[in-house]
Subunit: 202 residues, 2 copies
DNA sequence: CACATTCTAGAACGAACGCTCTACTCAGTA
DNA sequence: TACTGAGTAGAGCGTTCGTTCTAGAATGTG
């Protein structure tokens, strides 16, 4: 009853979204063309516009949501890998640095480039970007809450943590060096220690 | 002796660079066209290619260097406005937040968008971006050195400070809120206090 | 079988892209 | 006066852009 076709169709749709997400991450919104997306995802223009009748904007918003999840998965697994919140943040920077190095510094944050280009001119995409950042902040705040931090403190720290991760990843990409990320990791660990619930900031 | 023409010519060149810098800041590299640059700077295509025979890339690199100086001026004046390094960093975030608010969140860092789009595909531009970030780090490190921080500590902190400022400005733009910047300012002040030469981190 | 629906396929459209090119203006020099 | 060199001006090059459109393949249902 149509499972096969629908599966195949779903595969095509997913392939389009995944390829778009990667291209947006590497070349930004204006630098990525629909025809490139179609050819690299082994789909045709007809298919792309069939699944995304809203055109490039709708497709980009879907791809940003995909990148949101991808980044969230990395963040979640790094945060869960350590009990101590400071060590967990260092694990985050280590994972980000590894991803950058392995991609020869091409695969940074899957959202940043598109977010910056579309500010104030593509509300759907900007919304998806804002939700992504909120989502990542929630993950960090959740970790801090689980470690006993006060709710307000956790939320504020999470904001700065995500900002710093974003900025350090940018610095690392531009400088082609892991150092900004590793340094940021150490400093973030020190920062959260200042606000730790067991007041003895070492 | 041709002073007038040369002045007028220099004015045209400067106008082109300034307009390009602003457009790159707001729309990124791929989103900014040479013809838009020409029309908004009241120059013609012929003039643009006369002053920048290397085309879009050469012009963009010059505009990035201009944005570097612009951002450095803001940073320098904010850092000089306070003796205490923590308060100086808060002043930086306050200035950045004011700039964002006044431009309805369109004028963020003049380098970031272009940097992300051209990573690994336009070496001249990427170099200019890397030098800009280094430049800003040097300003922050200089302030910390002047406050008595150890050289290594100052350099590392400066890296994280600039990363956090970049990331917080991005977060603020996407969320259309000053909060990420103000929060980051408080946290950066707390962070540098941890490494202050007078070891009594309050 | 016919029939609708879903998805694939790519030609074609007008607009915009970066860039090249020739023609021109105009002050300074010999 | 003739010439030079800097800068202005914009038509036009080939290409690519996002999008639209029609045609057909594939599958499920009556």
């Amino acid at each position: 009853m149509g499972r096969m076709e629908q599966r195949a169709a779903g595969d095509t749709r997913d392939r389009i979204v995944q390829v778009t997400a990667r291209l947006l991450q590497r070349q930004g919104y204006e630098g990525t063309g629909i025809k490139q997306i179609a050819s690299e995802s082994r789909a045709t223009l007809g298919s792309v516009y069939h699944f995304f009748p809203g055109g490039k904007q709708e497709l980009a918003a879907a791809a940003i949501r995909h990148g949101d999840q991808e980044f969230a998965d990395l963040l979640r697994s790094a945060l869960d890998s350590e009990d101590d919140p400071g060590k967990a943040l260092v694990a985050c920077t280590r994972e980000l640095a590894a991803g950058l190095r392995d991609s020869d510094w091409t695969d940074g944050c899957p959202v940043t480039a598109t977010a910056l280009e579309t500010i104030g001119r593509a509300p759907d995409i900007q919304l998806a970007c804002a939700q992504a950042i909120e989502h990542w902040q929630d993950l960090v705040a959740g970790k801090l809450l689980a470690c006993g931090f006060a709710a307000d403190t956790a939320r504020e720290l999470a904001s700065t943590v995500v900002s710093t991760l974003e900025g350090a990843e940018l610095s690392a990409q531009v400088a082609r060096s892991e150092e900004p990320l590793h340094t940021a990791g150490r400093h973030l660990a020190r920062l959260v220690a200042c606000y730790a619930p067991d007041a003895t900031a070492r």
